[in-house]
Symmetry: C2
Subunit: 150 residues, 2 copies
């Protein structure tokens, strides 16, 4: 029992003392930050989409530059879903906190797909970019369906 | 006269067809995006500041990671200050558009100082980071003083 208690305390301390939790002074700062990072990510993701969907001419450098930004941004929002950030100016659903493992799985999946998109964009092959863009978009949508208000 | 007209048309076409202008469908999209990029940048800049000001223990990797994000973000907002984005949910002052050369100079200065901060952070030398952080902060403030409503 004592061992389990110590383990639980260590785990709790680790969670509370991670930089992620210390990064925001107020819950509303975390909410503003995570929304901002999604906004920037979506803008650059959309620019790749415009090329993937043949709405604008394909430019390999533009695709690669935007994909690199998307990859950077894809890592940022998750630290801002800490305790107490479920209320306020947010469309986050309670499931984020009641189904944390599933939420993390979705977040990891998105980052993996975006990593593949960035790799595809570096090759300059539009077909590869289209495939990776579609998979990355699906990973966005999956989380939005489960964890975000309409 | 004809030559001047052609030159003017070429210049106008170049402005209208730059990716920067094509990136946003509506002025409010551009405003939301540039504010979001500043929000993300400020959050990560603040984390370096917490170390530079001895509010949190110095961690060279955390400093370098945050500085790299700040550097990426420092390049983003400028494309979103296009024509028609001076009105709406923004604190941008008209001077941004009436004194474009000065605004660009300030934006370039900030990016240069942030580049130095990222380079300093890579060295892991806290004193170098403190110096570069101060200069970068000054470059933020200079633009805010001149181009942003209080």
């Amino acid at each position: 029992m004592k061992k389990a208690l110590v383990a639980a305390l260590v785990a709790a301390t680790a969670i509370l003392s991670t930089p992620a939790m210390a990064q925001f002074q107020k819950p509303e700062d975390a909410i503003k930050y995570r929304k901002a990072s999604f906004t920037v990510m979506a803008a650059h993701f959309g620019r790749i989409g415009a090329m993937a969907n043949n709405r604008v001419p394909f430019d390999a450098k533009v695709a690669a530059d935007n994909a690199a930004i998307v990859e950077t941004m894809s890592k940022l929002p998750w630290a801002a879903f800490g305790a107490g950030t479920d209320k306020g100016d947010t469309r986050a659903l309670p499931a984020i906190w009641t189904e944390q493992a599933k939420f993390k799985e979705g977040a990891d999946k998105m980052q993996a797909e975006v990593g593949k998109l960035a790799a595809a964009a570096k090759t300059g092959n539009l077909d590869a970019i289209k495939t990776a863009f579609g998979a990355a978009g699906q990973s966005c949508k999956a989380c939005h369906d489960d964890f975000r208000k309409d």
